[in-house]
């Protein structure tokens, strides 16, 4: 049994890509080998800042020999066919057997394939496995080969041994060997290895912890110990842990201090500055739970002064960063016009949805005040959060401050909605303002581009309206013409309702018969329509509707006219058509009344009641009567059925 050791040493691999790369490498190699009949006992893969490593144990020294019988053409087949067979099977005519299958004699080639040495198979498949690693982002670089490849960063060496012997291969202009190097700064010279055990040991001696999991454990334990010794504890941050473990081959935890003057800055800023820009862990006081004036930094270095210089340097960088944040604290610029539009919309919306108008307007006036402050310029993820701080700092009402923070909500399909009415009003005003303005200047999202995130704004506005059951016809808001925006919003509504299982054709059917932009009412109509169509009455009425429409359309085409108008009651002679006429007149009155009261279910119920009369009509009445007057009247009656149903929904848009 043989063991494979493969290491790819490159320039620094982005931390976020390392773990996945190790998994992909293992999957590619394991797949390629098992496709070629090479099974093994164990696989281990590792990734770090500069190297990917794969170790397979218990590989057979070579593939099994295999024999394969291949049936050829009949012996009396044309020479061309026989030649082709011999070529494809790689045998001569003399090496073929002749067999008889009862129907005649044919050639049979028995191909013996000797199993190849595992090393040869590896040399052949590994370059392809490497080329196929699916990096999230890859690059070109000058490579001494005619077949350059894209990889995450320039590759420097390939270590590949099978049972201690080099497997010769080439990739990206690099040829394999049995040497590697240790830590960039803590190790010197080449390290020669034979198999995984001495590789791992020699690397450890060269200050490289191969295993990302081990690096994480070491960091976590060290941070906790060092914090505890100071009466502090770590504020958990698994994402940061993952990242810093990918930035060090030999992680060393150091503790630094934050100067007192910066402890006045809100904790959110401190934590964000430390985490995003400096990759420091924040710590908190064990007893009080407040943010501590200490941070933990993970270095990739052991120094003669035990990290003193490194800590001093990191503290200095943090001071500079926080001093910049402080400068921004006071800077301000206005976005007066935009804010005035949002403010006026927020006031109007607040009035309609029953929110405190004064507070909504005040929150709207202040909601963008933090945007041009440098703190937010520097840490954009704090927009709104900072605004709330500034507002509270200035003695604003808590509801106003919360609305400032929450007016960006929801930021995506999974984000929560603003919960107070004031926040809803401001959040809606902000989103609708963008939508109105961008549509007014014709900056609409295209198939590929939505630079101003208008789809997100639209979806957010719809969710706020629908989930909070807000009655708001946005077409009637101060001075804005919805225009194309209505269709855009209805498209977004389809996306939103699709997740709840609502068919898009029902949305089209319901939206086609109203002109307003009261989306909550539209949803009610859609829901009622959906449940109506699920019922027997609904399904049958739809069939009858289609039959009626098809007849009317066909006859209209034939007669080159449009059948639209009141049927003449005097010209109705059969009982079923008289009944339908009366029922339609009653139904249309009732439906009008129910729709006016927004009782969509009831309106559907009225239509359901029509079904049996329509069925009876079709069973007993011949539309295309010889008498042109009767025929015309019956067509008008069917046309009236269509127009009556269309007051509820445009049934012609319903599919299936």
């Amino acid at each position: 049994m043989a063991d494979l050791l493969l290491e790819l040493l490159s320039e620094e691999i982005p931390a976020r890509m390392q773990a996945q790369a190790a998994r992909d490498l293992e999957r590619n190699v394991v797949g390629a080998l098992s496709d070629r009949g090479l099974l093994f006992e164990g696989a281990k893969s590792f990734a770090g800042p500069r190297r990917l490593t794969l170790a397979l144990s218990g590989l057979p020294p070579r593939q099994h020999d295999v024999s394969e019988e291949r049936k050829g053409p009949r012996v009396d087949a044309p020479a061309k066919a026989i030649d082709g067979f011999l070529r494809s099977a790689g045998v001569t005519l003399e090496q073929c057997e002749r067999r008889n299958d009862g129907k005649g004699e044919f050639y049979l080639a028995v191909i013996h394939r000797k199993g190849r040495a595992t090393a040869d198979v590896l040399a052949e498949v590994l370059p392809d496995c490497l080329a196929k690693l699916p990096w999230a982002k890859s690059m070109r670089w000058p490579q001494p080969t005619n077949t350059p490849v894209r990889w995450v960063r320039p590759l420097h060496s390939i270590l590949c041994t099978l049972d201690g012997e080099v497997v010769p291969l080439a990739f990206a202009g690099v040829t394999s060997g049995n040497r590697t190097v240790g830590h960039r700064f803590l190790s010197r010279g080449k390290i020669e290895v034979r198999r995984f055990d001495d590789y791992a040991k020699k690397l450890r001696d060269g200050y490289v912890m191969l295993d990302g999991g081990e690096r994480k454990d070491v960091i976590l334990q060290e941070v906790k110990n060092r914090a505890f010794a100071l009466g502090l504890e770590l504020i958990d941050d698994p994402g940061l842990l993952e990242e810093v473990a990918g930035l060090a081959e030999w992680p060393v935890v150091l503790i630094g201090a934050i100067e007192d003057e910066y402890m006045e800055v809100p904790g959110e800023i401190l934590q964000t500055a430390m985490r995003v820009h400096q990759k420091y862990f924040s710590l908190r006081n064990l007893k009080t739970g407040t943010l501590a004036n200490r941070f933990a930094v993970v270095a990739n270095m052991i120094t003669a002064d035990n990290g003193k210089t490194i800590v001093a340097g990191n503290e200095r960088v943090l001071r500079a960063r926080l001093s910049d944040a402080k400068f921004f604290w006071d800077q301000d610029r206005t976005q007066l016009e935009r804010v005035e539009r949002i403010e006026s919309l927020a006031g109007e919306i607040a009035e309609r949805i029953g929110a405190d108008v004064k507070r909504a307007k005040q929150a709207a006036r202040l909601c963008k005040a933090d945007l041009t402050t440098g703190v937010v310029g520097e840490f954009p993820e704090l927009q709104g959060v900072m605004g709330r701080f500034y507002a509270l700092n200035d003695g604003e009402d808590a509801e106003v401050a919360d609305a400032i923070r929450d007016h960006y909500k929801p930021q995506g399909p999974s984000d929560s909605l603003p919960h107070s009415k004031v926040s809803m009003a401001v959040a809606l005003a902000d989103k609708l303002q963008s939508l109105f303005m961008f549509f007014a200047i014709d900056e609409k999202p295209t198939g590929s581009g939505d630079p101003f995130a208008l789809r997100r704004s639209a979806l957010g506005a719809l969710r706020i309206i629908i989930d909070n059951k807000l009655r708001l016809d946005i077409a009637t808001l101060g001075g804005y013409q919805p225009g194309d925006l209505r269709d855009f919003l209805i498209d977004r509504l389809k996306v939103h309702l699709r997740d709840a299982g609502t068919r898009y054709d029902l949305i089209d059917a319901a939206a086609a018969v109203v002109r307003d932009c009261d989306f909550l009412r539209l949803v009610w109509r859609i829901e009622a329509l959906q449940s109506f169509l699920k019922s027997d009455d609904g399904a049958n009425l739809l069939t009858a509707y289609r039959r009626a429409v098809n007849i009317v359309k066909a006859e209209e085409k034939k007669d080159k006219t449009v059948y639209d108008g009141a049927p003449d009651p005097e010209a109705l002679i059969l009982a079923q058509e008289k009944t339908l006429f009366v029922e339609l007149a009653t139904a249309s009155e009732l439906i009008r009344a129910e729709l006016a009261r927004e009782r969509f279910g009831q309106a559907m119920g009225v239509m359901a009641h029509l079904r049996k009369h329509v069925d009876a009509f079709f069973d007993n009445v011949t539309v295309n009567d010889k008498d042109p007057l009767l025929r015309k009247n019956r067509l008008l009656l069917l046309s009236r059925l269509r127009s009556t149903l269309h007051t509820v929904a445009d049934f012609s848009k319903i599919e299936g």
Binding site: P142, M301, F327
Partner: protein, 298 residues
Amino acid sequence: MAGSPVKKKTFQDLILTLQSFWASKGCLILQPYDDQMGAGTFHPATTLRALGPRPWRAAYVQPSRRPKDGRYGENPNRLQHYYQFQVIMKPAPADILDQYLESVRTIGLDPALHDIRFVEDDWESPTLGAWGLGWQVDCDGMEISQFTYFQQVGGIDCDPVSAEITYGLERLAMYVQNVEFVYDLAFNEDFRYGEVFHQAEQEFSAFNFEMADTEILFRHFSDAEKQCRELIGGNKKLVLPAYDQCIKASHVFNLLDARGVISVTERAAYIARVRTLAKACCEAWLATPMGDYKPRFG
């Protein structure tokens, strides 16, 4: 470390050291470009020379103007005018990272005492239509350089790929001299950085944020755009003068941005306008003798 006898490098020592270091690696030592620009990458010695097959190696100091970064001379390390030291090598040498680390050692940062890391930072310049993959190089948590393998410039694939190294000279010097306030840097033995630049930072901050006449700037932008188009639009292609106009437009845009008169929508549109100019210049450059000359060395 304690009581190190090595004299700390002055700001100008740093420049001289980097220049002679990269000269020894075969770089042309060029001088700053005489137009205002946001970064050394805009220098035609980088933007244009990164394109086409012809080998190229150059290093130079480039004053970089970032109007928005003005802090009226009050911030310890932000400046609206600072110096970048720029290295461009085409094709990127295989040992370029080792060369870079050697340069860091030469200027007095001993990797044995510090924590030097290559942290993923892919560079992109929307105005130049350029991008590359690389790192920011951190020393004890402070970014001391940007390292990029150019993949595209002006929307055109770079082949061969260049390596670009940018050192932020003031920050580097602050680190080397152990100075916390940029104006305290020793420029040479006798003068401090503040004596040279503090007043300029105060005046230009006021200009960038308060006084720059936006009407004039809007006009300058349109003029530069127009002139650039004319220079490469006709039969006679004057690529380098056209590219100068593109650089000017970019800087005027940065000033307008600092004045806060450009909205989010307009911002994207202005960037797109500069990018269109940059792309046109890059495409035109490839058709010139220096753009696609056959290599003489390398």
